[in-house]
Amino acid sequence: MLQPHNQYVSFENEWRQALLVVRNLLNQRNVSKFEWQDLFVINNRITSWVDDGCKKLMNELEKEVNSHVTNAGKRIHNYNDDESLLHSYITEWTNYSVQVRHLPMPFSFVERTNNSHKFNGCNRPTARSQESPNLVRNTMLEIWNHVVFTKISDRLLNVAMNLVERERNGESIDTKLIVGIRESFVELNTDVENPLALYVAHFEQHYLESLERFYKSRTSEFLEKNGILAYMAFADEKLTEEENRAKKYLDFSKPESNEKLIEKCVKVLVIEYEDQLLAESPPLIRNYEIPRLKMLYRLIDKTPNGIQSMLNNLFEHIKIEGLNAMRQNAEIITSDSEKFVEQLLEMYTKFSGLIKDAFLNDARFLTIRDKAFQEVVNNTDVFKIEFQNKSMKGSVESRCPELLATYCDILLRKSNVSKKLSSEEIDEKLNNVLLVLKYVQNKDIFMRYHKTHLSRRLILEMSADQEKEENLVNRFREAGMPADYVNKLFRMLQDIEINKDLNSTFKKSVSGVNNNRNFTDSVTLKILNTGAWGRGKERAHVSLPRELEDFIPEVEEFYKKQHTGRKLNWTHNLSSGTIVFATKMGKYELEVTTYQMSVLFCWNERPNAKISYETLKLATELTETDLNRTLVTLVAFPKIKHQILLTDCAPVNPKNFTDSTLFWINQDFSVVKNDKAQVRGKMNLIGRLHLTAEQDEQEHDEIIQLRVFRIQEAIVKIMKMRKQIHTAQLQTELVEMLKHMFLPSRKLIKEQIEWLIEQKYLKRSDDDINTFIYIRH
């Protein structure tokens, strides 16, 4: 109990009291709360009042611990066979380590006094104790290490490893034994700098070696007996098993430890047989064996280089399967854009599913999918556009962008397909188009076709949903489609809105003045911005029916009042109308182009006449090309029972038309529905309008011309920035700059470089023929 301060404090007396408690603690006997608290007080008294109290106290304690540990050592050595030795070591160690946690607490005064007073007399003569606040704890561990552990550590380790091996063989063992040994190695480390050094050098080292030894013979045996596929499962299972085992037995406080273990496992289980495993990858991919691929991926992903080989396998597979599927269905999909897009999507979904299920959407596999799918999409085996232009002669490109644009048109226009689909379904399909579009190299072609289709939808008012049109254009922008194309599409959509206002203003302005008011009501104007819609034909000339001809100046007059500085170019090739056709069978409404109208109105003055080609040409003032095309739609419109006009030209082909070829009205014309002639009816003869009037060749010329400009522009941009550049880098930067529009061919690039050199925008370097230098202007 507390003693008054002034009384003399004798170390012997005090320690005698303390020793009892210390012994009880060491031997795991009951210590009461009072005794425990008393020990603190006694120690405090000794260190405070006794000369050299610290030193004396530590010496006595050390003596006591030493003899305790020596006894424990003796008890352990009573057992001769390895396993009992291990058992008893662990029992003693477990007990002792409890004391290592508790005993230092009452002695914390010693540590503190020692530190705050720098009282060397108290210190044990080791470097560690001077710095460490855990003086007592460390002393205890050191004694254990010295007296017990170092003498038998190798033996213990061997026994422990044998136990692990038995566990690997399926026996159940007492895991505490192995964990205890590991703890001993970790706790008894004496290196301050590297607290795990002892553990790493002995325990971990042995563990990894025994692991390797264990599997080395077994794996090849298993493989020989069960084959590579079974081995794959075996390796996968063992890998997981060893990882889990290591979690129990190894110290994973540092990540390197885990890495070392995995590295070792992978080496013995996977890398040894990597070639054989990888050889299985192509057939597994071909047969979509998801669980096995997943397993193989798990294994190979752990090796340093193996995954590349699997990536290559997947690339080949996507390419070959994709192209085969296209070739097999070539006949259907080349003519049916819907089937084509669906085919592409079906494959895309299949490949993506494989990557998701088997390769867990690993980014490397996704990249490979994109690369391979791009090859499929842009492949020119099945469909191609052949360029006849001189600078692109013989070069071919996939028709994919064209078919994609056609598919968009089917979805966006009032068509049989779009009517059957819900709004959500259409959105989903449009999403799919964008998805495929991402892989299309020549986006300029897609945009061109899309613009043509959009023009037709807007001019003929066939667009099913204006909002969807706008959304799609917005999506194009987000998808990084060429900005100037996107802007034009937007302006086209805006133009249509502007024209709605224009029409109502027009009707109001004319209603007071005009005597032909009824007719004004039946006219709709579309006055469009040339910059956005394209200049189109120089002049689409046609002689209009009288009432329309008279109408034109009226509109021009009106428009002049609305705007200044604008001139109008009537594009009758784009306009259309509804006419009523009265035959002896009934009255029919025909939707016709203005060209068709102009031709048909020739018969108004003489309904029964047979009119010659030459007369029609004079009367309509159409060019031969336009007249031919218009006449064909009137004498041989596809899929109708009765044609509007009849002719003496057989077979019907514009090539066979001569000036004297005769045309006359089919007086028996009627609209036929369900095999019955109708008295009233409607028919649309507009077809594709005169938008795609230009020949493909001309269309392609324009595409190429635009590309030429883009390349020139891009080269100048790059040169301005770089001043001087090597040809290889120029190529790379060009492709990067233009890839959202098209993939420039080497030949085209080369020609443009030559042209720019001729025009003195660049010159070749004197030192290196392959380096170009920008010439300032």
Binding site: N487, Q494, L525, S575, I579, V580, N608, A609, T615
Partner: protein
Amino acid sequence: MNESSPSKSPPKSENKLFTLKKWNAVAMWAWDVECDTCAICRVHLMEACLRCQSDSKAEDCVVVWGECNHSFHNCCMSLWVKQNNRCPLCQQDWTVQRIGQ
């Protein structure tokens, strides 16, 4: 070959073979200019000038005509006259004749 004889009496207008019911007229407008390209920014006059393109104000980018009948983007010209009040093409003093609308 001769054309067949025309019908004896031309049909009355309401009995015409073809009567017009609706017409959708389409025209393209463009600035009424002599030269398509703006000599200041080198962009086609039907497109917005570079400045407006990058500010996406393409709607407001109109054309201006001088008394000399030369035309430019209005934005380009209004910057130009701050430095030099002459037409960049003919060097006459610049007076605005009209502004497109």
